[in-house]
Every structure is written in structure tokens, then in C-alpha cells.
């Protein structure tokens, strides 16, 4: 297993490297002289401009610039914003990334917990009203676009009943609606998946054996079925995390949360390419790291599985 993990880590680093290089090249190929863009319409002293050239390697070929960029990035220097002159990119992107991390993790945990519960219950009460009802709701959860759901939630909970704040990011209450909105789709997808997986496993022989031995129903579900049902679910969770990280932009926009999704897309619309690059890298890195974590969990949960060509 150690060898597998080492290979996966290397692979992941390589992928991240490739993504970073592609994104970096794309933003460097856009028109505009980086120095002029960083200075904007201010009168910046020549020594400072020279310092920029040295620090960012601006007169070198693009591949070399990329290494400068990586080196600086590791020290937290992602360059200077083109839109907010004089502001380092890290000041714009750092706090936003933290905010996004916090509330999205909560949303995902909520989605996973609820999905596990619903999926297991639906599988246990297969073909009953509960099962059909839950799956119908899940299908609606998958189908409803998040911007529609968000708008409806705001109307009902904020405007009609005045229970929750409309927008912003001040108090925990501000995050209730965004978290619910973001959690609905992953929860729906996951609960269907859990249910399908559980149903598969329940029919397996070893479960029937356990039942025949007189093990209690809950015990059957819990110890014997759930563990094996979880394997495919884990893979899915990894993918979902990636989707959620980037898709939260719409939710962040509607609820006016200053998270990395909104910062990144606003930066694209403002052509603030250093910020776009930093946001892309952070999101890609987050996705790739969670993929690695999921892989590790997978290996831990079922070390019998051998990994072939990956």
C-alpha cells in the first residue's frame, strides 16, 4: 500500500503541475504587458518596477517565468492584482479561500450525513412509502437548478418568515441557507448511490449468512453491509467535493458570500488574471488533495483491492 500511495502522490503532483502550467500559460498569452497592468495609471517608481521584473522574472521566456511563479507561490506571493492596484493577490484570495473552505466543508458533511441516513433507511425499507418518497425527493434534488432553489429558499425563509438573513457572511445564521442550498444536490446524488450500493450488498450471501445466524437486523446493516457498501460511495464523495468546490460560485453570488468561487469568477470578468490564476490553482489543488485523501481512505477501508493501471 505504501508504494501505491507514493505513486498516487507523485501522480497527483504531476497533474497539479500540468494544470498550473496550462493556466499560467493561458493567462500570460493574453494581451497586455504585466508591468503596465500592475502599475495601472499610477506613477510607480522605477526601482519598484525593476524589483517586479526581478521578482517575477518578467523578461524571461514563459516556462522560466512559470518557475519563478511557483517559487513565489510557495512563499505565498501570487503577484499583484491588475484590478486593485497595489494589492497583493494573496490578500484578495486568502481570506476568501478560508471562508469557502469553512462553509463548504460544513455543507458537504451535512450532505454526507443526511445521505447516509436516507440511503440506508431507504434500502432497509425497500419499496415502501419511505423509500419511494425519499427517492422522489432525491430526484427533485438532483434536477432542481441551485439558483432556483436558492431563490425559493430566500423567499420562504427570509422574506416571508424573516427567520434567516438574506445575504452576507457575518454570523453563522447567514450560512444556513447557502449551506442547505449547496448540500441538496450532493445529498440527493449520494443518497441514491448509498441506497443502490446497500441494496446490492444486502442481497449478498454473507449478509444472508449473518441474518441466518440470528444477528440483529440493525447489526446486519451496520457492520456487515454498510462497510462494503461504502467503497463505491467513497469514490463518489471525492468527485462530489471537486464539483462542489467550483459550483458554489452561483450560491456564493446569490447569497453575497465573499468566497473563492465568487472572487475567482469576478476576477475573470474583471480580467484580473493574477487573481484568476491563484483561484484556479487553489481550487484545483483542493480537488486533487481531496482525491488523494479519498484514495487513501479507499485503501484503508479495503486493502484487499489491488490497483492496476490506475
Amino acid at each position: 500500500m505504501a508504494g501505491y500511495l507514493v505513486r498516487r502522490s507523485l501522480f497527483i503532483l504531476a497533474t497539479l503541475f500540468a494544470v498550473a502550467f496550462l493556466a499560467f500559460a493561458a493567462t500570460r498569452l493574453t494581451p497586455g504587458d504585466p508591468v503596465r497592468l500592475m502599475a495601472g495609471d499610477r506613477n510607480v517608481a522605477p526601482e519598484v518596477i525593476e524589483a517586479w521584473r526581478v521578482r517575477y522574472g518578467l523578461d524571461r521566456p514563459i516556462p522560466v517565468q512559470f518557475f519563478y511563479y511557483l517559487g513565489n507561490a510557495l512563499r505565498g506571493d501570487f503577484g499583484m492584482s491588475y484590478q486593485y492596484l497595489g494589492t497583493p493577490v494573496i490578500d484578495l484570495v486568502g481570506p476568501a479561500a478560508l471562508i469557502t473552505l469553512q462553509w463548504e466543508v460544513v455543507a458537504l458533511l451535512l450532505a454526507i450525513v443526511v445521505a447516509l441516513f436516507l440511503g440506508v433507511m431507504a434500502a432497509a425499507r425497500h419499496n415502501t412509502v419511505f423509500d419511494n418518497g425519499a427517492m422522489f425527493l432525491a430526484l427533485i434534488g438532483i434536477s432542481l437548478p441551485d439558483f432556483v432553489l436558492a431563490t425559493l429558499l430566500v423567499i420562504v425563509f427570509s422574506l416571508q418568515f424573516d427567520w434567516l438573513p438574506v445575504a452576507g457572511a457575518g454570523t453563522p445564521a447567514h450560512f444556513v441557507l447557502p449551506i442547505v442550498t449547496l448540500a441538496v444536490r450532493p445529498c440527493a446524488l449520494l443518497s441514491r448511490m448509498v441506497r443502490a450500493s446497500m441494496l446490492d450488498v444486502i442481497r449478498e450471501d454473507y449478509v444472508r449468512t449473518a441474518r441466518a445466524k440470528g444477528v440483529g437486523e440493525w447489526h446486519v446493516l451496520h457492520r456487515h453491509a454498510l462497510g462494503n457498501a461504502l467503497l463505491p460511495v467513497l469514490t463518489v464523495i471525492g468527485i462530489l467535493i471537486g464539483r462542489v468546490l467550483s459550483g458554489a460560485f452561483i450560491v456564493e453570488t446569490i447569497f453575497n458570500i465573499p468566497g473563492i468561487g465568487r472572487v475567482g469568477v469576478t476576477a475573470v470578468l474583471q480580467r484580473d488574471y493574477p487573481v484568476v490564476l491563484a483561484a484556479t490553482l487553489i481550487l484545483a489543488a483542493a480537488f486533487i488533495v481531496t482525491t488523494l485523501i479519498v484514495d487513501v481512505l479507499y485503501a484503508v477501508v479495503d486493502p484487499r483491492i489491488r490497483y492496476g493501471s490506475g
Binding site: 495601472g40 495609471d41 499610477r42 506613477n43 510607480v44 517608481a45 526601482e47 519598484v48 484590478q83 486593485y84 492596484l85 497595489g86 494589492t87 497583493p88 490578500d91 484578495l92 481570506p95 476568501a96 430566500v154 427570509s158 422574506l159 424573516d162 438573513p165 438574506v166 445575504a167 452576507g168 457572511a169 453570488t253 446569490i254 453575497n256 465573499p258 465568487r262 472572487v263 469576478t266 470578468l269 474583471q270 480580467r271
Partner: protein, 516 residues
């Protein structure tokens, strides 16, 4: 009641009052995006200037009636020939870093702004008549010789020619300065605590989220009553309105889409405050970006094809007053007798055919950029129906939109609102139409108009000047330089209990007099 009960009740009351008094009073105010900068001298647009009014201080300012009033200036005198101004500054005024404000700060601050190329040629405008100003703006000099500090609190400015509008120009935030030591030379980080001298001092800025200012205890005119200002950054106007209704914001501008509902609502209707505003909503046609707009017939065709009154009255729900010309009412040089080209689809089609595009055939692809999707769609629908031209609507992000306007190379057809910072027709004629200016977003260039504008700017006699401004406006309107859509008003919802919120013709005044 026994004495004991009374004592206990009084103590409780006092404690309650004490607690209430200890709660800081906050004003929660929405803005639509991050300000471009916290430096007043670099403030090129309304939102940035609004924040600057609270952070900074200048020699003069505009009060709520849009009159120029002395601010840092305690008294002033002008020489008989009108060329030398002597300003006596208040003693005891300090910058936020504790240092006393002295006359030399203004000389150094103005030299700093002039030395920097600010990108807006109108920035050099107040200096055109100051001794040494043009030379420094052109980069030929390193000292503003016409400005001298005759002591800590005496500032002397010498002009090359009389400028009756000089004090007005000094009242605009872009002529206010910051202390030189607070600005790191070369690489100013505007997110570091900006230092000003205004009624509020900077506390924090979370990009995209909120800017917090707190009352300046040492403000020379007295500490403001409000303890804190929170600028909440809310890009979407209807979200801001919803937040106001939910009690999360204290003031909000009512978007036209919600105007009918708000005025008819029993609770909200009582909280509306109207202020007159000097803003022209118009459609611009960028000639350098889109060739057909260089033909006056095409521009006139577009002018006749757009039902401007319908847009102001119906589409914008009456939030805008009908526009007859470029200069809004309440500005001295406004021309009430100016008759604009009428809505006339027939004539529009004729003109377009004359120009070589009968029925819109062969007309190159054009898109309209607008911050309001509804206005953009209304105009697109009118152009399609009346001219046969299919126009798509772009709704750019605000910061991108404005920088695209200034760079002249992104938008061909655009809808925008142009506000004044001085109550003069020059804002809507000189700034918008003079050949070669950066603020001339349409890259319009007409010698006749320029001549009239030059005349207007040089006249000292107000009547002759007004006549010249009106002439310039008339020529430009005949030439279909721009298409005026309406004159907007300020329509705010203000939470009951908040006193002292006011806006002059340009925008909200500083919150120094606000209390709750």
C-alpha cells in the same frame, strides 16, 4: 412606590441607559463593489468618491444644498485682480495619524498628484490656470510654483488668469490630499490603513465583503455622532433591498424595478426619501470602436429609433425624468427650451437607409453594454423592431465595465449614467464630448462643438458663458452625439430613527451629521 423600589428602578434604568449608550451606533450602508482606491485624488467615479467623503477632508466641500462651503479653510481672501487666493486653515485639525494638518501638506499632496499621470486628463483641469500647473502636469517641472505655504496655516495659490470656478474645483474630493508620509512611495498598498483627515477613520477592509470606518474623535469640527460606518459590498441592487427589508441594512437605494412595490407598501412607502440629482442616463455610441457610428445619419437613426420617454416613464417605472438634452435640470446652464429629436421610427428607417443600410441589412454586428439588463433589453428590442438590427445585450461586471469605458476599446454601444462633481454644464459637454479627452467615452470629435466649449470655458461673464454652453449642447444634440434617456433621481429608503442622511446633486454627503 417605596423609596427602595424607586432607587432600584432608577439604578436599573441607569444601567440600561449605560448599556444602551455603550452600544456603538452603526450605520450599515451598501455599495455595489470595492472602491477602486481609498485615495481621494485618484477617485474617478461615484462610489470611490462617496467613501472618500467620509475618510478625507479638503479645503472646501459641497454641502447638502450643493453649495460650496469652506471645510478646512477658516477664512480666505482673493486679491483684486482675482489671481491670488490666500487661505487661512483651521488650527487644531489633525490627520488620522495624529500629526497636525499644515498648509505644506497641500502643496506636497498636489505636487504628488500632478507628478503622477493619473490617466484622466480632466485631472489636470483645475491646474490649467495655476502658475506652474500645466508645466508640472506635462512633466516639465517638478514643483508647483503657484502654490506656496506661507506658514503652517496659510496657503497661497496664484493663478495665471481669473477662474471663477476655482473654489468649486477645490471642493471636489479629487482635489483633497493625504499626508505624504502615509503614502509609501512607489508601491502604495491601498489596503494598508489609509490615512486621511476626515470625520471617520479607516478600521478594516475585507475585499468583496465590508469596509469598516469608525468615528474620528479628534475631528476638528467635532466628533460625528455615529460611532461606526459599515460599507457592505452588495453587487446586486435587489439583494440590497431585500437586506434592508430584513433589517440588515440601514439605507438602500431603491432599484427602479422595485419602485412601484416600495412606494405602494404602507411601511416602506413612509421610509422613502427623495433627493434631486444631477445625473444623465444616456446611450453612447463609440466612434473609434464601431465605424458606422462615425456617420451622423446612423447616430440620428439610432436616436429616432429609441423611444426615450417610454424607457424613462415605463421601463424604469418613473425613476427617471424625461430627458430633453444633455445637461440635467438644477444645473445653472440647463436649457429648458431645448427640443430633442423626437421618437420617430419612420425617420429612423429613412436615415438608416440613407446611410446605406436599408432595413438594417448589411449593418455590422453590434452589442449594447449596460449595467441594467432591463434597459439594455428595452433598447435592443426597440432597435430590432424599428431598424431591423439584431443587438445582443452584454451585462458586464461593474469594475470591468467602467475600465472598459475609460479605455475606449471594449464597448461600441453602451448605456451609462454620468454624474457631476461640480454643478456645471461642462460635466456633460466638455467632459463627455471634447475631442481627445479620456472621459469622452464615445470618442466623439466635432470642431464646432469644441469651439463652443472653448468659448464657454473662457468666458468670465456667466451669461455669455451659459449661452455658449447651451450652444455647444445644441450642436451636439443636432449631431446626435449621444442619446439622452433620462435624468435620474436619488431614491433612498432610510431606516426610521436615522437622522441627518442627505444627498446633494452629486451623491450622499458625508455621514458626519448622521445620528440614530
Amino acid at each position: 412606590m417605596t423609596i427602595l423600589t424607586r432607587i432600584v428602578a432608577s439604578l436599573i434604568l441607569l444601567a440600561g441607559l449605560g448599556i444602551a449608550a455603550a452600544q456603538p451606533t452603526v450605520l450599515r450602508y451598501p455599495i455595489t463593489s470595492n472602491p477602486a482606491t481609498f485615495e481621494p485624488g485618484l477617485a474617478k467615479e461615484l462610489l470611490t468618491a462617496e467613501v472618500a467623503l467620509n475618510l478625507h477632508v479638503g479645503l472646501f466641500t459641497y454641502d447638502a444644498d450643493t453649495s460650496v462651503v469652506p471645510y478646512l479653510v477658516r477664512s480666505y481672501g482673493v486679491s483684486d485682480d482675482g489671481l491670488t487666493y490666500t487661505f487661512e486653515l483651521h488650527e487644531g485639525a489633525t490627520w488620522h495619524n495624529g500629526r497636525a494638518i499644515v498648509a505644506q501638506d497641500f502643496k506636497l499632496g498636489w505636487e504628488r498628484y500632478l507628478g503622477a499621470s493619473l490617466g484622466a486628463q480632466t485631472a489636470g483641469d483645475p491646474w490649467r490656470l495655476v502658475v506652474g500647473g500645466p508645466a508640472m502636469f506635462a512633466g516639465d517641472a517638478s514643483e508647483l510654483t503657484g502654490v506656496q505655504a506661507l506658514g503652517d496655516h496659510t496657503l497661497e495659490v496664484t493663478l495665471t488668469g481669473p477662474n471663477p470656478k476655482f473654489l468649486q474645483e477645490l471642493a471636489v474630493p479629487s482635489m483633497w490630499v493625504v499626508p505624504s508620509e502615509a503614502v509609501v512611495p512607489g508601491e502604495p498598498r491601498w489596503v494598508d490603513a489609509p490615512v486621511g483627515g476626515g470625520p471617520f477613520r479607516f478600521v478594516s477592509w475585507q475585499p468583496g465583503s465590508m469596509i469598516v470606518l469608525e468615528a474620528n474623535d479628534d475631528f476638528f469640527l467635532g466628533r460625528p455622532e455615529i460611532d461606526r460606518i459599515e460599507y457592505h459590498i452588495v453587487p446586486d441592487a435587489s439583494t440590497a433591498l431585500a437586506q434592508y427589508e430584513a433589517g440588515e441594512l440601514d439605507v438602500v437605494a431603491v432599484p427602479p424595478a422595485a419602485l412601484a412595490r416600495v412606494t405602494n407598501d404602507p411601511r416602506l412607502g413612509a421610509e422613502i426619501q427623495y433627493f434631486t440629482r444631477a445625473q444623465l442616463q444616456y446611450v453612447g455610441m463609440n466612434q473609434s470602436q464601431f465605424e458606422p457610428f462615425r456617420d451622423a445619419r446612423v447616430r440620428a437613426a439610432f436616436f429616432h429609433a429609441i423611444d426615450r420617454d417610454t424607457i424613462a416613464e415605463r421601463v424604469q417605472n418613473g425613476a427617471w425624468a424625461n430627458a430633453t438634452g444633455l445637461v440635467p435640470p438644477h444645473i445653472p446652464q440647463h436649457d429648458p427650451d431645448l427640443a430633442a429629436r423626437p421618437y420617430d421610427p419612420e425617420r429612423a428607417r429613412e436615415l438608416l437607409a440613407d446611410a446605406g443600410y436599408p432595413g438594417g441589412q448589411g449593418f455590422p454586428r453590434v452589442e449594447i453594454a449596460s449595467l441594467s439588463a432591463t434597459v439594455g433589453e428595452a433598447i435592443a428590442a426597440m432597435l430590432r423592431a424599428n431598424l431591423g438590427i439584431a443587438v445582443e445585450v452584454i451585462q458586464p461586471e461593474r469594475g470591468d465595465y467602467i475600465s472598459g469605458l475609460w479605455s475606449h476599446d471594449r464597448w461600441s454601444l453602451f448605456a451609462f449614467g454620468w454624474t457631476a462633481d461640480t454643478p456645471s454644464a461642462s460635466v456633460w459637454t466638455y467632459e463627455m464630448l471634447y475631442c481627445g479627452l479620456d472621459s469622452n467615452f464615445s470618442t466623439y470629435c466635432n470642431e464646432e462643438v469644441d469651439r463652443a466649449i472653448d468659448l464657454a470655458r473662457s468666458h468670465l461673464d456667466p451669461e455669455a458663458s451659459t449661452a455658449a454652453w447651451r450652444e455647444a449642447e445644441r450642436i451636439a444634440m443636432d449631431d446626435a452625439a449621444l442619446i439622452p434617456l433620462g435624468y435620474s433621481r436619488f431614491i433612498y429608503l432610510v431606516r426610521p430613527g436615522i437622522e441627518g442622511f442627505a444627498a446633494n446633486l452629486f451623491g450622499p454627503v458625508s455621514f458626519a451629521d448622521v445620528s440614530r
